[in-house]
Amino acid sequence: METLLDLWAAYGSTIAFAMVNALFALSTYAVLSTGVLSFTTVVFAAVGGFLAAQSVAHLGIGLWPAFALAGIGGAVAGSVVAAAFLKLDSHWMALASLALVLITRVTVLNTPLLTGGVNGLVVPMSVPMGDLVILLALVAAVFWRLHRSWYGLAARAVREDAAVASTMGIPPRGIQFTAFVISGAVGGIGGAALAFTLQFISPETYFIGMAFTMIASTVLGGSFHWFGPIVGAAVFTALPVTMQSVLPAIEDVAKGVVLLVIMIFLPRGLVDPRAVGLRRAARRRVSAEEGTDV
């Protein structure tokens, strides 16, 4: 029992970070599932994180109202970004969102009244593991519901071929705009969750490293189903910890190699609905053929 408790204590924070990263990955997935590659989740996370930290410190609000506020802040940021960037074509969109990440850090650095500037901000509240689980479950439930809705169907159509989708009466821009608002809300909530997990945020918290972590988590897990990003975030967060215990001397190299190998052999990610479908079809075919043989 004691060893179990020890294990929990040792890897509890890794699990917490994995759940926070899952929120970021879901935020990235929200736009990616409509065919837009964007790194702006970092921006939404920064908005949500600093908003939550400041409102907890100065307005004295509780944990869940802070999450709500962060979500709203992120959604507003998401709609602004969508309004400015959606006219760009896909390649420019990716570059523009990366540029926005760089601008975010400079902004955070130069507004010390709001963000604590270079010294960062102590967050006077922490999120209990139970609340984090509930939060992720709630967000996942929303994605599950969306996946099965008209919106989910429309999003997949836009991703496959925007031109074809629009001939079917689906407005690609409208769908993508909605995706950005969802991405913003989830990213903002994730930013707040990170702030409450780390209990300290600084300009470096929301920067390039995070941008690449979230996109890698999303694609590694699989960007064709909402469950993929959650799996991807878990794997990508656990990877350094695992590598540290296996190959401490070259843990970063090992982490890169694992990521590389998975992507080369499973380019559609760990969770791939198409592969599941194909396997099912193959099984049906095999059993059907066996049936004819006998």
């Binding site: 204590a9 924070s13 890794t14 102590v122 209990q199 401490p248």
Partner: protein, 385 residues
């Protein structure tokens, strides 16, 4: 007869220990066994160069403590390392793993103040002693659990600046300072106050950012101010780059810097342009003359083939400080007892600084040296011309 001598010697030792530690702890020692200190390393990532030094210094301290049975017979200490790469999230995860490992008695970490800031609540909540070996933001310690063996900057800089005013008598000074590092802003302000108090004009202030690498333009800017003296109050890579760029552009006047240019690697990289640039420092192998400093320098040289730098000395001090707390415990040591013991430490007994008082969990180096690199790459006491 022999036995009686021994006894007398022990008695004297006990007496000395009693004086040093205060009554009540003399004679007690923790139960025999191996005690583990968690060490969050930063040997990869942006600060890896310094991170390697901190870690090496700590290793030397462990060897000395174990070889001399300093804590007590049968009591040894051991480091358990986890890498953070100077990343706050990774550091926090390393910390929680140490917290979960019941063998780990205390943890030492952190070069960057933001990372230290993130670690502090974790340690306080988990009730585990945490000792900072590198971060210098004022107000980080939080007794009894969180303490720092790194003296805050300020007094050293003031001392050197005063010396410069007295010896070099400059009329105007140009300053380089990090726009994005409050520690160096404070050092710069302290120096500027001394200068202006002595009637030395500020020719101008050139600010740079920590991540900058090209200093041709800032050097041109500073030289355009025609100062008698240029003071460089920046982090390491910029400081080295600025001095190289100034000399390269033909600036022949006086330059001063801070202890960031002390590590061997900086001289190896920049070479002769660094020679003669004075900087204040708490510990410099070869200049620091206390027996502890010499022994440390020798042991480090033997193990790693080079002299220890100021960062190595800080890693070394951290382990000695934790061991001193451990030594004052009796019976089975635990984290809370160690935290209480560490909070009671009034000065770190074994140090390379010629005295290291601890005030409210914060070390305070009182004796600063002013040194410079010689042309052949040795740190020597500065002799004003």
């Amino acid at each position: 007869m022999i036995d009686r001598n021994k006894l007398a010697g022990m008695g004297a030792g006990l007496l000395a220990a009693t004086v040093m530690f205060g009554a009540g702890t003399a004679g007690a020692q923790p139960a025999a066994g191996e005690y583990v200190f968690g060490f969050v390393t930063e040997t990869t990532g942006p600060l890896a160069a310094a991170g390697v030094s901190y870690h090496r210094g700590a290793q030397v301290a462990v060897e000395e403590i174990n070889a001399s049975k300093w804590i007590g017979s049968g009591v040894t200490v051991k480091l358990s390392e986890k890498e953070s790469g100077s990343d706050a999230a990774r550091a926090v995860q390393a910390m929680t793993q140490f917290v979960a490992d019941r063998n780990v008695l205390a943890v030492t970490c952190c070069i960057l103040s933001p990372v230290a800031g993130a670690m502090r609540p974790v340690a306080a909540n988990a009730k585990i002693p945490l000792v900072f070996y590198g971060a210098t933001l004022p107000g980080l310690p939080q007794p009894p659990y969180v303490s720092s063996v790194v003296a805050l900057p300020g007094p050293q800089e003031v001392k050197m600046t005063q010396l410069i005013v007295d010896k070099m008598k400059p009329k105007s000074v140009a300053y380089f300072v990090n726009a994005d590092n409050e520690g160096f802003q404070n050092r710069f302000k302290a120096a500027q106050k001394v200068m202006e108090g002595a009637g030395v004009k500020t020719a101008g202030v050139v600010s740079i950012l920590s991540a900058d690498t090209d200093f041709t333009a800032p050097a041109t800017q500073a030289m355009g101010m025609n100062p008698d003296l240029i003071m460089v109050w920046t982090t390491q890579t910029p400081a080295a780059g600025i001095i190289a760029a100034l000399r390269n552009r033909g600036y022949a006047g006086a330059i001063t810097a801070s202890d960031v240019i002390a590590p061997n690697a900086v001289f190896k990289k920049i070479g002769e342009p660094l020679a003669g640039v004075p900087f204040p420092i708490a510990f410099a192998a070869g200049v620091s003359s206390s027996p502890e400093a010499k022994a440390f320098a020798d042991a480090f040289q033997k193990k790693f083939g080079e002299l220890p730098d100021t960062y190595a000395a800080q890693g070394y001090t951290s382990v000695w400080y934790m061991s001193q707390g451990l030594k004052s415990l009796s019976g089975k040591a635990n984290r809370e007892a160690l935290a209480t013991a560490l909070a009671k430490v009034g000065s770190i007994e074994h140090n390379v600084y010629g005295g290291l008082p601890m005030v409210a969990g914060q070390a305070d180096v009182q004796k600063a040296l002013v040194v410079n690199w010689s042309k052949d790459g040795k740190v020597v006491a500065w002799e004003p011309k």
